[in-house]
């Protein structure tokens, strides 16, 4: 039956195969100590592939909070055990990992550190199991805004595209008015986030400054290596200002390639995801004067507690924290405070405590962040826009957003959608 191509293996090669397999299996195995029954929190995340950084910084930040809680004696001696597991960025694998964490590993709580596609898959699993879940990395508005998708046991502790768009639109409108920027163009990655971010930004820009005009859009593919055609297309359209939702490596490549054409001398560039430490460090020649929203900055809010948290993270992991880090640190802090407050590890009890809870946080716009009860998502976190400069602290002139404006616009938007 077998193909003539497939010869018999030598005995030695089989032996070698066995040895290699055995060694690889044994290597990563670390025995876990078990004394008093710990509170297990499962963390599905992306730890491999192109966006492994997301999972790694999420895990790092959450682990810091867990260690502090355990070092302080835990809950009457009961410690928290964080079990992080790789979903490889596949939503179906994320769903499987969550089921496994709940059914096999006995996790009572899920800290979901998946990107959006995985978060929606996790949401469906926890809706079915009723497990308490905090999404800490999905920024997609509908996850908590759409009543059909929302679940009573699922919370979100992350920024939101809609909040970012309102703030970005209002900030950009101010600059457009002051500098007479009428012709706008967008260059965002061609997938859901890029499309939503661009269209919502333009919508709010027009709300706050009706005289602007969108003159064109160009859509590079996600993870594209080459942006030449997009750069020349922008040069051809001659906008006065450019908005981009590109991020990470893609944004760096776009800036490097745009620099070759002198693109940023000719347009005002609004890159919502620029102010992120990996991106800021990776761009070797950061053009001065790029407008950006804060992803995470240790200098915004300019408080002692924020600078200290950033320094502690840097000291422990030898890398500066990213947006995902503050979101996960805060999510874990919410959990820990709910556990302390209720003295319980029961998901339903904790969910009750989380609804409407306000915690003191370095990442709050005014020192606190609230888990809004009505849609179980955070508000009053620090958002601001500023202008890049080529050396540390990289961004200056940060203008903090006004949360009363965000809240008003958000309510109006939800009414339009029929979600309020």
């Amino acid at each position: 039956m077998a193909h003539s191509d497939f010869g018999r293996p030598g005995r030695r090669s089989v032996l070698k195969a066995g040895l290699v397999t055995g060694a690889t299996l044994a290597m990563p195995f670390v025995a876990r100590g078990a004394s008093k029954q710990p509170i297990r929190i499962g963390q599905p995340s992306i730890l491999s592939g192109r966006i492994a950084q997301l999972g790694i910084s999420s895990r790092n930040a959450a682990q810091m909070v867990v260690d502090a809680f355990n070092a302080a004696g835990g809950l009457d001696g009961r410690t928290i055990e964080l079990i992080s597991r790789d979903s490889k960025g596949k939503p179906d694998e994320a769903a499987r990992v969550v089921r496994e964490l709940i059914n096999n590993d006995g996790c009572q709580i899920i800290l979901d550190s998946e990107a959006s596609s995985g978060a929606f898959a996790v949401q469906e699993v926890v809706r079915e199991t009723g497990t308490l879940c905090i999404h800490a990395d999905s920024e997609t508005t509908s996850l908590t805004a759409d009543p059909k998708i929302r679940a009573p046991n699922a919370f979100r502790c992350a920024r939101q595209v809609l909040h970012d768009s309102i703030v970005g639109g209002s900030y950009a409108a101010g600059i457009a008015k002051a500098q007479g920027l009428k012709r706008w163009m967008t260059c965002s990655p061609d997938y859901v986030y890029g499309r939503d971010s661009s269209s919502e930004f333009l919508d709010y820009l027009k709300v706050f400054e009706p005289s602007v005009e969108a003159v064109g859009a160009t859509w590079p593919k996600l993870f594209a290596p080459d942006y030449t055609e997009n750069v020349t297309r922008i040069l051809e359209t001659k906008p006065q200002a450019l908005y981009s939702a590109l991020y990470s490596g893609d944004l760096v490549s776009f800036i490097d390639q745009g620099n070759l054409y002198g693109l940023f001398d000719q347009v005002k560039f609004f890159a919502i995801n620029m102010a992120d430490y990996t991106t800021l460090h990776a761009v070797k020649k950061l053009p001065a004067g790029i407008y950006s929203c804060n992803r995470y900055l240790s200098t915004f809010p300019a408080t002692k507690s924020n600078a200290e948290w950033s320094a502690a993270y840097d000291k422990r992991y030898n890398v500066l924290p990213l947006n995902w880090a503050w979101q996960n640190a805060l999510a874990m802090q919410f959990l820990v405070e709910a556990i302390k407050k209720t003295g319980s590890d029961d998901g339903k009890v904790l969910a009750g405590a989380l609804r409407g809870m306000t915690v003191e946080s370095p990442f709050g716009a005014k020192g606190t962040v609230t888990m809004r009860a009505e849609d179980q998502t955070i508000v009053d976190y620090a958002i601001g826009w500023g202008v890049t400069i080529p050396q540390a602290p990289f961004v200056e002139g940060m203008e903090a957003a006004d949360w009363t404006v965000i809240a008003a616009r958000e309510t109006e938007w939800k009414k339009q959608k029929g979600w309020a």
Binding site: R8, V14, R96, F120, I149
Partner: protein, 313 residues
């Protein structure tokens, strides 16, 4: 004919035993595992129609898995069709897709064929990502897949989904087996082993290849439909090249020359994946080394090795 009857009885028995076992143990993780095994097992067996029996090394088979899942999910979300009608319609659409893609690809030999199937799959993946209005882009089909009752079957109940998946799995295995044991199936083997000779004997080689491609695409799409039902959604990675690579990995692990080899391969693959993921985030490194060992060390799948021992040539 008698062989077919015996195999039908075997499939029925295996199906009944599996259902009985799952029912007796009533364990959720076990049912989850069996569902995934059935889905990926069927996917790998369908790919092996091409790779093992026709000698066409397709590197784009996930295209049909993804297409079937999306077609089914989208049809159900319109709310206009019943569940079996949507499944049949997506199978028909997938067969049509396989016919068009196949007609283009089989014109090319060997490596060109692998190339081209991969390219078409990446085109489909790109379309899924950018056609946000229809597919939901990278976030996949949102809002779940509605499951209206049909013929007294209620697929909102996980146990009934399990039963339907198992029945579909074993029925498909039986169907594929019957096709491969038919004169048509032996003609495919001849095309694989010596296409010029087959052509000289008057066999319409291209038509046979195309037929195999369409059949493989059809069952690959069925696996995709079952997957969509299982996860209640569809995601772009269903049509990504890594899933095609994993399909070939499964076939290689289990055995190319034995009908049930790919099912065993899928079982080993899932077991390895689930275990390794529990301990390390360097899953790729581990799986890559395993794959190298199997390809360069064993040079064939596990069942191939076993069968060679049992039936010495």
């Amino acid at each position: 004919m008698r062989a077919t009857a015996r195999e039908a009885a075997l499939a029925l028995l295996a199906c009944a035993l599996t259902l009985l076992l799952a029912w007796a143990l009533g364990s959720k993780p076990l049912i989850d595992t069996l569902m995934r095994l059935a889905i990926f097992g069927l996917y790998a067996v369908s790919l092996n129609i091409l790779v093992g029996y026709t000698g066409l090394v397709s590197f784009g088979h996930a295209m049909f898995f993804g297409f079937g899942a999306y077609a089914f999910g989208l049809l159900m979300q319109t709310g206009l069709t019943s569940l079996p009608a949507a499944a049949l319609a997506s199978l028909a659409l997938s067969a049509a897709l396989a016919f068009v893609v196949g007609a283009l690809c089989i014109r090319l030999a060997d490596i060109y064929f692998s190339f081209l199937t991969l390219a078409f799959q990446m085109l489909l993946h790109a379309v899924i990502l950018s056609w946000v209005g229809l597919t939901g882009g990278d976030q996949g089909l949102q809002g779940g897949i509605p499951r209206p009752r049909f013929l007294g079957i209620n697929l909102a109940d996980p146990w009934q989904v399990f039963v339907v998946t198992m029945v579909a799995f074993f029925a498909s295995l039986l169907a594929i087996r019957t096709i491969l044991q038919s004169p048509f199936g032996y003609a495919l083997r001849m095309v694989r082993d010596n296409a010029p000779r087959a052509a000289a004997l008057g066999l319409p080689v291209q038509r046979y290849k195309l037929a195999a491609f369409v059949i493989a695409g059809l069952f690959g799409a069925l696996a995709g439909i079952l997957m969509a039902l299982y996860v209640s959604g569809a995601y772009p990675n269903f049509a990504f090249w890594t899933l095609s690579g994993e399909g070939m990995f499964m076939i290689m692990l289990g055995g190319i020359g034995v009908f049930l080899g790919p099912v065993l391969g899928a079982a080993i693959f899932l077991l390895l994946n689930d275990t390794v993921t529990r301990f390390t985030e360097y899953n790729g490194m581990f799986m890559g080394v395993v794959l190298l060992v199997v390809v360069l060390g064993l040079r064939q799948g596990l069942l191939d090795v076993v069968m060679a021992r049992i039936r010495p040539r």
